[in-house]
């Protein structure tokens, strides 16, 4: 099976922002990419920067582009509309979230290897935590009615659940939406309720969640594909900065990931994870 990787043009280009939608604690930045590939694969990511005020002139930080899995890619007559979900946590996400319509979104991508389809006959279970729900949005569109389990910190964060179709099962840390529970509790219940049916888990979220998903699936012999995060400077294998420890030694998450099979990891909790 060929790996789910759509190739990127070898240069940065500028997409035109069509809107920034506020969704509680998150922002959904949508931009029109006129020249990039129309069909990135769910789980792939783009390196993003604002066209202006990013490392040039008086700008000190942000300097490096930031990696984001795309949440949506909808083909349009003259390009593709890309959606990126983000939360303001630092100077880079702040600049991206305050882009104005018609502003320039500099990007390189799609990059990395995305999610592989589930094995024939297996029922897909999507497990997302916080901002990590982003790549599961486009994945949901590709799969046939997957089970969607989402966990958020609070009601403000849980607003991102509205982006999913159907009726995702949502829990929160504070019980403000759904039960007060961890999303991994939902996953354990889901897998145990129908233990005879073959399941395939697709997960993205904070390191502790991913580690819990990995351990839980490993214990039940359920295949899990985990979309991981690590600090990146380039996104295409140049800087060697984003390595994660695997059973094969250090792998660059940008070219050998960001989606890795759970059984390639001894733990999803590693130094630098989630940064």
């Amino acid at each position: 099976m060929s790996e789910p990787r759509t190739l990127a043009p070898p240069e940065r280009r500028v997409a035109v922002v069509s809107g920034v939608e506020r969704l509680g604690a998150y922002h959904l930045v949508t931009a029109h990419d006129a020249s990039g590939p129309r069909e990135p694969q769910p789980g792939q990511f783009y390196m993003l920067a604002t066209e202006e005020c990013w490392g040039g002139g008086d700008g000190e930080r942000p300097y490096l582009p930031r990696a984001f899995s795309y949440a949506r890619a909808h083909v349009e007559p003259d390009g593709v509309s890309l959606g990126f979900l983000l939360e303001i946590v630092g100077p880079g996400t702040e600049r991206l979230a305050t882009l104005a319509p018609d502003g320039g979104l500099a990007l390189v991508g799609p990059l990395g290897i995305g999610f592989r389809p589930p094995p024939e006959g297996a029922r897909p279970v999507l497990v997302g935590g916080g901002i990590g729900v982003a790549p599961l949005l486009c994945l949901q569109e590709e799969l046939d009615d997957p089970t969607v389990l989402l966990g958020f910190r609070s009601a403000a964060h849980a607003q991102a659940a509205a982006l999913f179709s159907g009726d995702p099962n949502v829990v929160t840390d504070d019980g403000s939406v759904g039960r007060q529970a961890l999303v991994t509790e939902l996953l354990a219940a889901e897998l145990d309720a129908d233990a005879d049916a073959e399941a395939a888990v697709f997960a993205c979220g904070p390191p502790a969640m991913l580690e819990a998903v990995r351990a839980l699936c490993a214990g039940r012999g359920v295949p899990a594909q985990l979309a991981l995060e690590s600090g990146m400077a380039c996104g295409f294998g140049a800087c060697f900065g984003c390595v994660v420890p695997t059973t094969d030694g250090y792998l660059r998450l940008c070219v050998d990931g960001p989606v890795l099979d759970g059984d390639r990891l001894e733990s999803a909790l590693f130094a630098g994870a989630g940064h």
């Binding site: 990787r5 190739l7 990127a8 043009p9 070898p10 240069e11 940065r12 280009r13 500028v14 020249s35 920067a49 490392g55 700008g59 000190e60 930080r61 942000p62 300097y63 490096l64 582009p65 500099a106 390189v108 990059l111 990395g112 690590s230 600090g231 990146m232 400077a233 380039c234 996104g235 295409f236 294998g237 140049a238 800087c239 060697f240 900065g241 984003c242 390595v243 994660v244 420890p245 030694g249 250090y250 660059r252 940008c254 070219v255 590693f270 130094a271 630098g272 940064h275």
Partner: protein, 312 residues
């Protein structure tokens, strides 16, 4: 399409030469800032059709394979970044067997960067790499301790000269010495390298830097400290290039935070014969090509204004 014009045909086919090797232009990559093999996986054949550099400098290889430093390996700074990568590589045998055949397919001449933890090791690397037809030039990364003396080879003129004397007989191919800015007098190191047979020097390597974890106050990087690069170091690099160029006759390859053709032109005005783009490639994989195009345009307008002045 991001519309980056190719450098003018005359500049591309041009007569540019570095240490006797014909190049289509004067823009290289800094070693360790571009992995052409990984980039080909991300970008496909388009990378070869629009290759960003006029010569390709490999990541540094060592005699034995290295896994590199534990993560985290990166820290963003004002106008730059600190890396603590630790030279992960497949080792000499792995490089020759699996990387070199792929790098030989690049559309530009290949420079292989080598590092030894002693003079014998360095000599073995130079002999083995220099013997390969695919390799046009070698770059010696001397920013490492000599395990025999404990001194950073490239920080000391005498150590640098001894290293050059050990490797010079091993190959007739051009030897570039990559100078570290973490030296008391890089000009003296460059002069020592030239006397001992170096064909060119390149500078600067990264400056030593450190970042602390914002919550714990402990070193952020897995390797504790690292190397600072990017626009943050450009002024320092420019001064060191000028200082070194005033001390040697051999070509100087200037680098350190170059992100535009105008900045490349400054390094050349300071005495560099060629330049390298490093950290800027992390922001845009086509940065080298853009810098080359801007530089060619600048040279062209210089010639035009010179002609206009003569005509006036």
């Amino acid at each position: 399409m991001a519309d980056i014009p190719d450098p003018t045909p005359s500049a591309r086919q041009g007569t540019f030469e570095l240490c006797g090797v014909a190049l289509r232009g004067p823009v290289l990559n800094g070693s360790g800032t571009f992995d052409a093999i990984a980039a080909r996986r991300a970008f496909g054949d388009a990378l070869l059709e629009r290759f960003p550099f006029d010569a390709f400098v490999s990541k540094t290889i060592t005699l034995e394979p290295r896994q590199g430093n534990p993560p985290p390996r990166l820290w963003e700074t004002p106008a730059g970044m600190i890396n603590s990568i630790g030279l992960p590589n497949k080792g000499l045998d792995g490089f020759l067997a699996s990387d070199l055949p792929e790098l030989a397919g690049l559309p530009v001449p290949l420079v292989v960067s080598v590092m030894g933890f002693g003079r014998d090791e360095l000599a073995r690397l130079v002999a083995a790499v220099g013997a390969r037809d695919e390799v046009s030039m070698l770059e010696l990364n001397v920013s490492c301790p000599n395990v025999e003396t404990g001194l950073i080879m490239g920080a000391d003129p005498a150590e640098t000269a001894l290293a050059l004397e050990a490797v010079r007989p091993q190959t007739a191919k051009p030897l570039i010495v990559k100078l570290t800015p973490n030296a008391t007098d890089p000009g003296a190191v460059a002069a020592a390298a030239e006397s001992a047979g170096a064909d060119a020097v390149s500078l600067v390597n990264t400056l030593k830097g450190m970042a602390l974890h914002p919550e714990t106050g402990e070193p952020w990087l897995g390797g504790r400290s690292g190397g600072l690069s990017g626009p943050a170091i450009r002024a320092i690099a420019l001064e060191q290039v000028a200082a070194v160029a005033s001390r040697v006759q051999i070509p100087v390859i200037g680098m350190g935070g170059i992100a535009s053709g105008a900045q490349a032109a400054e390094f050349m005005a300071a005495g560099a014969s060629a330049v390298a783009v490093g950290t800027e490639s992390f922001r845009d994989p086509a940065a080298g090509r853009r810098v080359a195009a801007e530089l060619a345009d600048l040279s062209l307008s210089d010639r035009e204004s010179a002609t206009a002045a003569t005509d006036a």
